[in-house]
Symmetry: C2
Subunit: 433 residues, 2 copies
């Protein structure tokens, strides 16, 4: 398994001459996430986050400051071309950026390519060819399963198949784009027929997003011991869900309009290379669980295929913002609560010859912890709307209301290394049209 290796770019003692970068919660010089940004009155272009600044990669390329292998690839309006390169080229870019942003001798040539992040707009990092959402958060699957089937929450295929389904690529939006409350069909359990209207059970789902790097040829599988080489990086993903639409529409072909109105991703791609220090063993399967089938089994993947990443969900209601209250944390828990590793997801997806392409987005599915404090959706926190969540204003929530803003965050930590973050994934709910 070709996981990126730890090198001197991960050195916790490394500092940057960019003011505010050292000790930055998300983007110290050890992170160097990639994204697409537009400065005021400028066109979208590739950039890298460093503290509260963004380095313009296109401008750096024009000035001949980047490795030759990536120069053309960073000039587009998306990162797809950069994702399509061998990961060795992105590693070369990382090493070059690390040097330029840490060693003061580069300051003069680099500083003109820096923008204050606050003055920039962040866009989707890639043109998403296909977006696939998985269901590997086993506690989420169990919690949701219990609502429908108390005695038998997990279906028989769950521990053999990394369950996934295709989502909607067109409606994936970058952090900050408001979510319009969707309209649709829902049927009350005791009603004879459905009615149409704004969803009354709007929910978030806390997920990890995976950006695909190099793809596979149509008809060719991706062996599990090569899967890590196809992952360009990670982001946060909020898979907004209309639970009432979902319950009515989802048999027999799965969720559709309950999900495809809007999905939000954090705009920065934290590269697989940046995550090298944060690899941990995949949690052991409970005794009695079947071993993964051979095509999904790799010893190295089990040893270091999971991520030491803590995820959290916060809410900020309109009333809270009026009262200048900080966002209220709804839940937090480790991203390792996944029954399958990212590599197993990738290999399973391509196992029938399905071609993944650079810039494709995979979602893990909601990642919940075993305990209530780590539940990754309101559906779980409120037991399907029965137990309301109390906000600091005294407001209660069974599901989301107009004006509510949901903020996802993720933080990678490992002893002896500088902590890095995924940045924010946020969006506010607007009333239905």
């Amino acid at each position: 398994m070709s996981f990126p290796k730890i090198d001197d770019t991960h050195d916790p003692a490394l500092t940057s001459w960019v003011s505010g970068a050292d000790g930055h919660a998300d983007f110290p010089v050890q992170n160097l996430p990639l994204g697409i940004f537009a400065p005021k009155a400028g066109a979208p272009r590739a950039g890298v986050a460093i503290g509260d600044h963004i380095l313009d990669l296109a401008q750096c390329a024009e000035r001949g400051l980047l490795p030759e292998a990536v120069r053309d690839a960073v000039r587009g309006r998306t990162l797809n071309a950069l994702f399509a390169l061998p990961s060795a080229d992105r590693l070369a870019l990382r090493r070059s950026l690390s040097r330029m942003l840490s060693d003061g001798k580069h300051r003069e040539s680099i500083e003109p390519c820096l923008f204050a992040a606050a003055d920039c707009t962040l866009h989707l990092p890639a043109a998403i060819g296909d977006y696939t959402d998985f269901y590997v958060g086993i506690h989420h699957a169990t919690n949701v399963g219990k609502l429908f089937r108390p005695d038998n929450p997990l279906l028989p295929n769950y521990k053999y198949v990394p369950i996934g389904y295709h989502g909607r690529a067109s409606s994936v939006r970058s952090s900050g784009v408001p979510v319009v409350r969707p309209r649709g069909q829902r049927k009350a359990p005791d009603a004879d027929a459905p009615t149409v209207g704004p969803t009354g059970r709007l929910d978030y789902e806390l997920e990890l997003g995976v950006w695909i790097g190099q793809g596979n040829a149509p008809g060719e599988a991706i062996p599990i011991n090569e899967a890590a080489g196809h992952v360009a990086g990670f982001c946060l993903l909020n898979d907004w869900s209309a639970r009432d639409f979902q319950a009515w529409e989802y048999v027999p072909l799965g969720p559709f309009l309950a999900k495809n109105f809007h999905s939000t991703v954090s705009p920065w791609v934290v590269t697989a290379e940046a995550m090298a220090p944060f690899r941990i063993a995949q949690p052991a399967r409970p005794e009695g669980d079947p071993a993964p089938l051979p095509y999904l089994w790799d010893e190295a993947d089990q040893a270091q295929g999971a991520l030491s990443l803590t995820l959290e969900v916060c809410i900020s209601s309109a009333k809270m913002r009026e009262a200048n209250m900080p966002p209220h944390r709804l839940s937090h828990g480790p991203a390792s609560n996944m029954y399958w590793t990212v590599q197993q997801i990738v290999t399973h997806h391509a196992s029938n010859g399905c071609d993944l392409r650079p810039g494709d987005l995979l979602g893990t599915g909601t990642i919940s912890a075993a305990e209530r404090e780590g539940y990754g959706s309101l559906l779980e926190l409120t037991e399907g709307g029965k137990t309301k969540v109390l906000l600091p204003t005294g407001e209660e929530r069974a599901f989301l209301e107009d004006g509510d803003e949901i903020i996802l965050r993720g933080r990678a930590e490992a002893a002896g290394f500088a902590s890095i973050g995924l940045g924010e994934c946020r969006a506010v709910i607007l009333p239905a049209k």
Copy 2:
């Protein structure tokens, strides 16, 4: 409802100076379907089929022969830009092409832009942003439902919701690209655990494909009386399916690897304008069925929202081809066996604000007739593999075998008009890797 109107381009007396076009089974001058083709040793470009020839639209544009509104749009390697134009512009293109290809005075200027279709390769007509597959063939839904739930084949939502799910855009291929038999997980009903291997239940699905023209803004619905204006045209779609994978993986989130290894479309887009004479009333709902909800109801759509189109499936086994036998017809039936119109599908899809984009592909789902001769999949024809189909060679089929080729065809007919066809959608099965 703004359905395209019948005009003099549909005149059955219209003839073309292109040899072989008059009386052509699929592409007489009344059809003029759009596609992307590559001549020998040439790059892919936009073209229009006329008889056994293809007119190079990019070359016509360069020579100033096309309406100004479409000149830039036909110069790309896909039809997406042409689909993004108002349908009035595609109508202008159609009228111009009809004049140039029927009136002999244009022959001298046009003839150098013609290629023999036999010398050309046909590509996917558009870069597909998202591909959605529906389930509106009510006899198919009933037949398949019976296999699982003999007493209650249709689920309660079927007559309210045009059921659909997202498919895989990356694995949609043009006619002629062989299908590699996929490998995957399947579990025999009496087995304790699944095994992995090539599918033993490979099937086709006969569907109509719909190419989206102008899209909608994110968050904005498409009213039913405007839906027809968002349809650029039609094709045939074979939604290849691995039934053993499907049965094992599809709960609770729907089909995934059972479908996303390959889907085949016919390469020519028969435009909504070309189909104007072939509009018929939507079949009346059986007595007792609920009326469509208001957002899906439009009188004009009910009056002329269906298509007078006969679809057929043929098979050609390797043995049949060795013996020079013609393909054997497995089934045929009318495309109007849809519980929802194409317009209702489009409106439902966007009803939650989901944005459709030019070049998106919608599949209707398998279209079966009520009678066995019109069943659109082997799953139905063989009752889940129990009743084998006999081929003229004496071979039998429960499901598809390596070397089998499946050919879909579609023909539009209406009294007083020249019949037009959708062209062929074909692919042969290769052994698993």
